[in-house]
Amino acid sequence: MLTFAEEILLLTLDDESGKFAYPDPTELRYALAGAVLMDLALKSKIDTDLKKLFLVDSTPTGEEILDRYLSTISRTNQDYSTRYWVTEIAKSGDYIKEKALNMLVEKGILKVKEKKILWVFETRRYPVVDDKEEKEVKRRILDLLLSDEIPTPRDVVLVSLVDACKLFPKILSSHEAERLAPRIEQIRRLDLIGQAVSQVLKRLRSDLANVMLLHHW
């Protein structure tokens, strides 16, 4: 089974070119931080309520990325809010991205393609080798949105992350996205960590808009 960080990265990649279709790397870092917390929550390592996130079980999961942050949370003596942890973990979002991409390569889903620009700077692309996993993720999301099925906890997390990253336009047509917006909202709200990621990103976008407005004046 893929981790949520791996699933989100698959959805942000352009299949053929292997480039990230995701517009904003900063927002991706926050979404990946949320993905890590959601995996830890579904593995019963942490739990949350409306005010805080707390440790339940510090036994390692065996997943390198998850265990790094599980260890950080378990070393903290104080309970912080979920928003605090999303912001804190997002600081090392590039590490999560690199590690998750490496895992996707190891699992044979992506391959690495090095390309030199002007023979000086190396860029790395991740073309998809096997798109079965990505299609499966998209199919799961679509099936759920088009039905009145009660989602599984994993489905809730995925919808919540895809929505936080504004990735629905990549999966749905604009007409479908508009029509299914109430259903997306219904499912998205069911996860408290997902809500925290959305709130942090909303704040970030609003701060950015204010800064741009100030510069404009």
């Binding site: 929550a41 019963s44 739990d47 949350t48 309520d49 409306l50 339940v56 099925e149 009660i150 989602p151 599984t152 906890p153 809730v156 219904q186 709200r189 069911l190 996860d191 408290l192 960590i193 809500q195």
Partner: protein, 111 residues
């Protein structure tokens, strides 16, 4: 976690007590899923004695509601109080599961 259970007509009423969090979620889930798998078509979760619920507790409600719907049965919740009521409202669980103010109105509806 202390979990009481009784029957009113065709409905099984399950009354958990205390905190519904990661420590008690497993016991509660086992109890509800056992009840669903034994073929009970009408189940009411009375949360009047629950004073705290976390994400792990909410996930048990989600899994139970999904399981019961797949078995073509009914599952409802009643008597939410305090912060438990807040968390259900904020997370929009009332759009997934029927929630009633008290046991009497829930039982009337469940039949």
């Amino acid at each position: 976690m202390n979990i009481r259970e009784h029957r009113v007509g065709n409905t099984v009423v399950i009354v958990p007590q205390g905190h519904l969090d990661s420590r008690s979620a497993k016991d509660f889930q086992e109890k509800v899923l056992q009840c669903i798998d034994s073929g009970e078509k009408s189940i009411l979760l009375d949360f009047s004695m629950i004073d705290y619920i976390s994400s792990a507790g909410l996930r048990v409600v989600l899994i139970s509601a999904k399981h019961q719907k797949e078995k073509n049965g009914k599952l409802a919740i009643c008597s939410l109080v305090g912060s438990v009521k807040d968390i259900f409202r904020v997370s929009g669980f009332d759009t997934i599961v029927d929630i009633y103010t008290d046991q009497e109105s829930a039982l009337k509806k469940l039949g």
